[in-house]
Subunit: 442 residues, 2 copies
Amino acid sequence: MITRFAFKKQLQNLAQSSDKSTYLLAISGGADSMVLAYLFNELRDLGYEFQIAHINYQLRGKDSVSDQKVVEDFCKKNHIKFHLYEVSEIDNKPENSIQLWAREIRYQFFRKIQEQENLDFLVTAHHLNDQLETFIINLSKASGINGLSGIPANENNILRPLLNFSKEEIYHFAEENKIEFREDLSNKKSDYLRNKIRNEIVPKLSETNENFLENFAKSISYLNQTKDFVQKQIQEIETKLLISDKEYKILSKEKLALESDFVKFEIFKKHGFTQPEENEKIFLAETGSSFYSKEFKLTINRKELIFSNLNSKNTIYKEIILTNGLDLNQNRLNIDISKHINAPKDFIWQFDAEKLIFPLKLRTKKEGDIFYPVKFAGKKKVSKFFKDEKISVLEKEKIWILCDGEDQVLGIIPYRQDRRFQANNDTPKKVIVQWIEELPIL
Amino acid sequence: MITRFAFKKQLQNLAQSSDKSTYLLAISGGADSMVLAYLFNELRDLGYEFQIAHINYQLRGKDSVSDQKVVEDFCKKNHIKFHLYEVSEIDNKPENSIQLWAREIRYQFFRKIQEQENLDFLVTAHHLNDQLETFIINLSKASGINGLSGIPANENNILRPLLNFSKEEIYHFAEENKIEFREDLSNKKSDYLRNKIRNEIVPKLSETNENFLENFAKSISYLNQTKDFVQKQIQEIETKLLISDKEYKILSKEKLALESDFVKFEIFKKHGFTQPEENEKIFLAETGSSFYSKEFKLTINRKELIFSNLNSKNTIYKEIILTNGLDLNQNRLNIDISKHINAPKDFIWQFDAEKLIFPLKLRTKKEGDIFYPVKFAGKKKVSKFFKDEKISVLEKEKIWILCDGEDQVLGIIPYRQDRRFQANNDTPKKVIVQWIEELPIL
């Protein structure tokens, strides 16, 4: 049951600190977030310092105004510092993936206020039902213990102190304490999968057992402990494999070969190599071969695995294989390059699959690269393009070029695509290369 | 997709052996089990040896006869040795828990045939949908990674080679190969929870993502690997804590105290101590205190934890606290003693809660024990009762006596209950002490 005392204990637990921490609450005006604001306000006499941030997405006309008013009124009445962000035309809302767009806006606005006001923690009102929905979404996507151990209650200074309370408990608490709130109508529409789970699956699950949610919370807690244990053990095993950790991290390939597939997978995953099939190749590769993840270059050297951090200063020629080919039954192949490199979050290029030679890859520039830039008549040397765009020598080394299997340039990311391979509306089979940002749950 | 080749590979993987293993197939006549029988029959020319067992529960009249006929005909046609068990009146079917009763019958019959015919493995036709149903049932009961990593594909020489194939794939395979089978009508009725999950929840989950089942199978496989890793690591940690492993297993209490709660819990769980609250008491207990699980007596000795196996020959006085009391709002308290001791599987005693002093406990006999046996006029010394029942000196040491908080004898398990505390039909608040057997999934 939610009580002032239970909440305070939970919060102190998460902040791992005294009452001297400072908080920014993300408040939408819905029952869960208004209960969060109310509970913080109840703790004020104990010296808890907090401010409130609200975003008006202007997506639902009058309703958006009313949501804002509930939060603003609560702040005025209780003399709480209130930060508002009104989404304007400039924040060009995308046609699809409104969810991601909104999360991005939240993330940036909250972080800005937190920095500006020097507040230790961002606090969100996620609850046990959100946790169950996320669990089922991850189950439907093939997840390991990391995905199934749920939304973290404390992640990068984002706290979620209501995570162990059910939606029912929160509504009950709001009613008991006459807390004003607005029904969150936006939730009812925009996220198809989450809503299907919320409205059709969770009620059925709850019918199986009157303690379903409570038991689910226990399962999640146990999985979390297991996850932490596994991480700690993997770290210890890695330490035993470590030959050097100075300029490069060098692990014993010989010793790692003796570990189980699970340990190998976890060690590679820590360095950004998440494809089990790729990992098998590492052990078969010859001395001098290299592999790339988003963060590391891995070079094979006799009995050693040498991991060099790609974000460090030493520039090197890099190459990343993106895909081995297109299944002939597919009309569309989506490639998410966010696993490998950084690019603007709206980056998306479409290609005519039939004009491409596989595998596609990302690499840094090579002597003699040429391409046929869109919005340009003929062909152009890549080096000339860099010069015209006034890109510095150091910058050039870091720019990723998308190539096909015969090393032809498909485009310079994110500057310019090659017009020869571009898809148009009539292209039957498309390859879509895009950058999909993964943000914490807000 | 199910193919002869994929099945053979899966089977060899599970049996971890050549084609020389021998198998007993549990075949009900439903699509899944008839596909299993068909696949084994296809492997016969490779030297696979197998026999088939079927149970006719006589629960559904003509339908039961038809089920049996499908299996029997298949065996005759293909010259497969067929074992039949027809449930008779003597196998007194209980009013409730038909599921457990049927599982018990299966278990005993299959094991008997396996022994008699000297067959290496028992094979069942559990599939991916069974796996998902079990996962959700365990989720609703608060489970850790052991419960959530599902039905094992190989457990105590029971193999489940169809576990990675969905029900849909199995039906499709049956149709393609014109395999005769019977719709399993019994499933449609008797297990309320499983049927609710099967008919209402699984279809909704499958709608969230066309690859839901396939992705779920990947999640389970990953959880299984995590589970195995955790078990192995816990074993290694225990080895480091080990002071002696001769007559008793002695672990360093000092060193264990420094480990995480998770490690403590897992180490205690391995020895049958599964209650986290109890485990906390262990570290606070004085030298000389003891605790009991079903398998071990744990004695605290300064800096040591001494585990003595209760199933070994050295007899000792033993005591197990069953429950601390009865919640006043409950009219019925069920105590399952199967976690602690062995008793006949139909063991059940009912007591008048208002006549009991808590906590209830199980202990071995003490000098001076007396009780008021049912079907007997006065009181009787427990030692005299043992003598009359012709129980040997050695046997006596192993018999469990149920006592109340003032050490009054409530009964000698399973011989005789004390009539003073017995419940009758009008007893408003009852304490029910029973033995509930947990069997592998068959």
